[in-house]
Symmetry: C2
């Protein structure tokens, strides 16, 4: 079934719209994925009405690169969202980052625009905050949200607080105009993001305009927050309150689509940018179920994500897929839904998931696990080979930074960068999803699996053309001192003199 057929199937109109939810939650945070308090009735219902992906991955265990991969359909090492400052380091876009999404990259909304889509991002952009990186310069028509994380600064003195934008201009800053109470965890932001989504959908429906909504909320990222109505409602504490509010909001968005009569025209996908941040556990961190470690690592806990596709009338209810999927596939799948071809002038890593979603097909494809400039691991079928392991350095670990709390798998959760390129550590993720029992190097099974994997890796490496690394240079002068619109608000700050430096990426 090609996208034309899909469009024909629509009974009420000829447009197909889609939304994506994207947020820092772990595989194990949903009831449908086994969270013991089972407090996500709306997401569980979304799964029971749609399709659950059990083997779905992000392209990177950290926020910015993962988001760049979603919107470009390309691995961060290709689209520039990585660093070469040191080997195999995670890097992202703090305020002092000089780089951002290159103009040469084609983003999903840029392409959708050609098919008449109106595109909105609500929430965290995270692909660079300097003017040339603004989301409205890269295909989005509307934006409500922030360019960087909300985790600080808090007082707008030594460093500027993170701005919140509406479209081209900032309309306030976190902790000033958009409060997050660090003591109680109270913040109204998810409610604001929800209302933005409902309003946008209503508007597009009224004008019969196909739309792409990228709902990139962040309540489950430390400092975790929830609105008053949800505070104290979860067995899981504040983190659970935030999850409940997100779950409730997603339920409201889906019901809104149904009420407007456009649910059968709207493809919705829920997933996350990286695994739960166990370093923030137990108070501010989620769950990766039984998967090893979490955010920042290339173990399953860092990169296997909860994922649900929902499209009433098209996706069979209660479906379950073992298709190896990746956030980059949302790029290609979305283009397919819109009747567009992916760009042919560059390597696209995402595949079209529609055959898996609509016809239950299984497409053979590998999953690559990168950390910065290094391919750490690869999954082929049920086998995962680690070419490099480390969770973080002894130095960081001794400061209490632990991405694998309570978990120590000898030779796997290493605190030095261990090279296994000549004899990769191999796991069978069916028998051993927790990556605890490496296969014996001497076994026939090891030999057979590695023969297959080696071919995939050789091919990948031989054809890899890395993009220009965007996350190498930091400069305090580029921070959000005076974003567009600051004059009207009287919120412009004076930047210091430019002093570009190599960014320091400890992990």
């Amino acid at each position: 079934v090609g996208p034309e057929a899909l469009l024909l199937r629509n009974s009420k109109s000829t447009f197909t719209s889609f939304g994506v939810f994207f947020l820092q939650m772990g595989w194990g945070d949903l009831g449908a994925f086994g969270e013991p308090s089972k407090e996500t009735p709306n997401l569980d219902q979304m799964a029971s009405e749609g399709m659950l992906f059990l083997d779905f991955y992000t392209a990177n265990p950290l926020c910015s690169p993962s988001r760049a991969a979603l919107l470009t359909g390309r691995l961060p090492v290709r689209n520039g969202f990585y660093t070469t400052n040191a080997h195999a380091r995670n890097a992202y876009t703090p305020q002092d980052i000089v780089g951002g999404i290159p103009d040469s990259e084609l983003l999903l909304p840029e392409l959708l625009k050609k098919a008449g889509y109106i595109n909105k991002i609500i929430g965290k952009w995270h692909l660079g905050h300097r003017p040339q990186f603004h989301p409205l310069e890269h295909g989005f028509d509307e934006w409500f949200g922030s360019p960087n994380c909300h985790f600080g600064p808090f007082d707008n003195r030594a460093l500027p607080n993170i701005p919140v934008y509406r479209d081209w201009e900032m309309i306030g800053r976190y902790y000033e105009d958009f409060k997050i109470d660090l003591k109680t965890g109270e913040a109204n932001l998810t409610q604001i993001y929800l209302q933005e989504a409902l309003d946008f959908i209503s508007k597009q429906q009224a004008s019969q305009q196909p739309f792409f909504l990228y709902w990139a909320i962040d309540a489950t990222h430390a400092p975790v927050y929830a609105s008053k109505h949800f505070l104290g409602t979860s067995q899981r504490g504040l983190y659970g309150d935030a999850v409940r509010e997100i779950d409730d909001s997603i339920g409201k968005i889906l019901k809104h689509l149904q009420k407007l009569g456009i649910s059968e025209n709207t493809f919705v996908f829920f997933t996350s940018d990286n695994g739960a941040a166990l370093i923030s556990a137990p108070k501010q961190g989620g769950s990766n179920g039984r998967f090893l470690c979490g955010k920042q690592t290339t173990f399953e806990g860092g990169m296997r994500e909860p994922a649900i596709a929902w499209w009433p009338g098209h996706i069979p209810a209660g479906g379950v897929s073992h298709q190896l999927g990746n956030v980059m596939d949302l790029f290609t799948t979305s283009l397919s839904l819109a009747g567009l071809q992916p760009p042919s002038d560059r390597q696209i890593d995402g595949i079209d998931l529609l055959p898996a979603i609509l016809q239950g097909k299984l497409i053979d494809r590998p999953i690559f696990y990168y950390r910065g400039n290094e391919m750490m691991a690869v999954r082929v079928g049920l086998y995962k080979a680690h070419y490099w392991t480390w969770s973080n350095s002894w130095e960081e670990y001794s400061k209490g930074i632990d991405f694998c709390p309570g978990q120590n798998v000898s030779g796997v959760t290493t605190h030095t960068q261990e090279e296994h390129t000549t004899l990769p550590l191999l796991f069978h993720l069916g028998r051993d999803p927790g990556e605890k029992y490496p296969l014996s190097f001497a076994s026939d099974e090891y030999q057979r699996a590695m023969e297959r994997i080696s071919v995939v890796v050789q091919q990948h490496k031989a054809t890899m053309v890395p993009g220009e690394p965007q996350l190498n240079v930091c400069d305090k002068a580029v921070m959000n001192w005076s974003p567009p619109g600051c004059e009207k608000l009287g919120k412009c700050l004076k930047p210091p003199k430019s002093d570009p430096k190599k960014c320091f990426w400890p992990h």
Copy 2:
């Protein structure tokens, strides 16, 4: 709603029958509980048609005591299924055990008999194998299965192979007449147990006889087995093949009840006798999801169990309960369903779950975690206090026996018996189901929770009257040398001279 009301609600007849499934599977082994391969469609459907219990426990982290607790409604320390040979040791009923279920104990089938029930046990009995302990001496009308585990011996030479009984007499032995291929894992036993169940149900339905079926299969206990049709069908290897066959069988039993038109008269409960045996992982061990450790331990992985109640027309479909439940509750609940009162001359630990199941009530009650003669931990609400910790001894651990592979929570997964009775280790199982982050002793939360818990523990200890320990004495002479029926089969063996000794319980 009392049991009378329930009986009245039955439209087709006036009897209420019930079944229990009971087997060595972990919390995380079901798709509905987040197993990543999601290969239990029938159990998942049972859950979606019935009620999922998320906070359900066994009474002991080991097989025999747990089964004794199920059938007596009493903690093993009361019904005698424990040892005093050493402090806090797990003990069970191997072939050389002298003890078994005391005559003074009242078993569920004994009581149900008075209400006209026909009772059958299919599978592993495990409450003693000497003549006085025979299940038909304790209320069961029929038996097909074995008195002990199928994990050996295999050659019937130095020691007798475990017999398989039909009712009073043995009809063969494991590895001789009832094959388990230790190389391929092939065995037809689950299919035999399934057919026994279907036949029994048909017979009772035909004679309009209320029944109690205790389906105590053991395919997921090492050596794990599956029948040919299921071998190689699971992503999870042989263990998963066994799970798939069990799942398929349970689906067939439920469908059989529906086909016979008695599903609305039949209360069915699925649960497990202990957590998955991580020591057998990854090839022969299941999953406890994100819970800590497994079988043999008093951490959540050892005692929190998957649990589903199913009773179409009575239990609301898709229900989820956070009622703290225990296998001992099945005793009291079953009596309630049959319109019977629990015995009043002894302490019964099980509670009637019907208010939780039918009316969604939450009954406040503690969960006690015992290891042999020691109360190791207690759960009250969402708090769990460990008064003693240990997983196993350094000596055993150094031999490769590890109940917590890849998991090391400092001060929790101890290899010496650590006493915390003056200042128990306290966990909040909502925020921290993995028992990784003990609360600070100095916190207000710790003080408040321990005040409440201390009262519960004092009361429990003050009124505790331990039964006579049954698992202290072992003697090779009592083994299954010549079970009843052996003469007809020519399978009698000559017992050695009696030489009773203290059993050695290393864990």
